[in-house]
Amino acid sequence: MIASIAGNELRRLFLSPLAWSLLAVMQLLLGWLFLVQIETFLELQPRLAALENPPGITELVAMPLFDSAAVILMLLVPLLSMGLFSREFLNGTFSLLLTSPVSMTSLVVGKYLALLATLAIMLLLVALMPLSLLLGGSLDLGTLSAGLLGLALTLAAYGAVGLFLSSLSRQPAIAAIGSYGVLLLLWIINLAGSGRGSALFGQLAISSHFHRLLSGLVVSSDLFYFALLIVTCLILTIRRLDTLRSDG
């Protein structure tokens, strides 16, 4: 059942030009940034050779690329997720799902899996760029996979937030704006001061956990943070849809 829902969602995502254009825009922007990073690296290379323990191409090209990808995708993922539920509300198709013998949980999980599949395609496109450097050089594959894991978890978290916001509104645009608000806040919330409370804000921010993974450190508390954020959003979505049934 979950597979049917996910399959239908994925099919409709790619039947509309939305997913394709988002992929194209993402690839254009990140391709440009990738080339800029390579150029910078080539300029720096003679000076790096003089250093005792120089940073490699993974640290200087792949990681900045992933960092920019996380910011650019923060702007693109809400556009992908905004329609997941709000468009069903708007078109009245939600009553089809509601009157079918399907639980809210499989509905939400099915839709989320479809979104994850799309995000996986995005991730693959991003990962292929630094991996292409293997043709002419060597990469620190350990750091690279930690960075990729960080980007994957960040995208999954964006998707979960977007899914929840989409279940709150009949208007896709409002769902997208809401997602921007929440995601940007979660991204910059660690900028707050340096007092006693700021450690908490650091814990709340997506960016602080993501940057630790980008530096090549895989810490279980970071993985736990992402899992918690995703599961919370999914449960909130299920609760929201149940309330919708009882409140009209």
Binding site: M1, R12, G92, S95, L98, P101, V102, S103, S246, G248
Partner: protein, 307 residues
């Protein structure tokens, strides 16, 4: 045998406003139930509750003996629902959409292709399988909506205003389809078109201001009003002359040589016709009064609305 649907004391409030108040009824297998009521009477709300799309504030719904609130997934398996606006994905083709619906309604994989063919055949969609739903006309979209509701051969089909916005030919086709469905399924139909109810329904429920104000089998309704006859003659008559007719209890003039005759229960209209010819009244019209349902509807939904 367990009735196909049984509701007890349904209530539904929207932010303090009571949309459905103490609605209880039953539907037996193979019956067509017509929901009537003015706009805003709570028809759609009741149907949304029956279909499981909306939880009632109070009361119980049992579909085929299974409680809709306690075991929703099992109960919904025997249900097909067409809301007022058909729930269609406009960017899918008819086949893609119906295949998804079949999976959603848990039609086993081995039977899906057959179920798809059958639903399309019943709804006259054989040639439209590869067309985009968004490009279909309103009538065809409505058919896809009905196909969606019957693809898993549910025991109960709920149709909310299925002929809304269709042209007369399409309405006739949809009614034919509904009649075909009654052979195998129980149907609940909401509408505010009275002739539609008379054309297809076995039983009528009238809702007014959220209350169930009338519930009767249509054949009983016909019997009630069989005793009224309209007569029009070419020659002017006195009501007294009509009163002499065999089996006539009372004759009331309607003007222009028309009279309403109230008959005894065992009166034979044929005898009246013969009598009128014998007397040389030049009979122009003699017909049973057809407006039974309409009268009831008007009486129940206008006088009480003041309360």
């Amino acid at each position: 045998m367990e009735p196909l649907i049984k509701t007890e004391g349904l209530y539904r409030y929207f932010a303090g406003f009571c949309a459905v108040r103490d609605v209880s009824f039953e539907l037996q297998r193979g019956e067509v139930l017509g929901f009537l009521g003015p706009n805003g009477a709570g028809k759609s709300t009741t149907m949304r509750i029956l279909s499981g799309a909306l939880a009632p504030s109070g009361g119980q719904v049992r579909l085929d003996g299974i409680d809709l609130l306690e075991r929703p997934i099992e109960a919904k398996a025997s249900l097909g629902y067409l809301p007022e606006n058909p729930p269609l994905y406009r960017d899918l083709t008819v086949d893609e959409y119906l295949r998804f619906c079949a999976r959603l309604r848990r039609v086993p994989r081995s039977r899906r292709a057959k179920a798809l063919q059958q639903a399309k055949r019943r709804c006259g969609l054989e040639g439209s399988g590869r067309r985009l739903i968004g490009n279909l006309s309103k009538g065809y979209q409505q058919r896809v909506g009905i196909a969606q509701a019957i693809i898993h051969e549910p025991k109960l089909v709920i149709l909310d205003e299925p002929t809304n916005g269709l042209d007369p030919n399409q309405i006739r086709e949809i009614r034919g389809l509904i009649r075909e469905l009654t052979e195998t399924q129980g149907i609940i139909l909401s509408t505010h078109i009275l002739p539609e109810v008379q054309a297809v329904c076995d039983r009528v429920l009238i809702l007014h201001a959220g209350r169930l104000v009338f519930s009767e089998r249509l054949e009983n309704l016909r019997q009630h009003h069989r005793s009224d006859l309209l007569i029009q003659t070419g020659n002017p008559l006195e009501p007294a002359a009509l009163g002499e007719l065999p089996g006539v209890r009372r004759a009331s003039p309607l003007g222009d040589n028309r009279f309403r005759l109230q008959l005894d229960d065992d009166a034979d209209p044929g005898v009246i016709a013969e009598y009128a010819v014998e007397k040389g009244w030049r009979l122009h019209e003699l017909c049973p009064e057809q407006q039974g349902l309409e009268q009831i509807f008007t009486r129940l939904t206008t006088t009480e609305s003041i309360q």
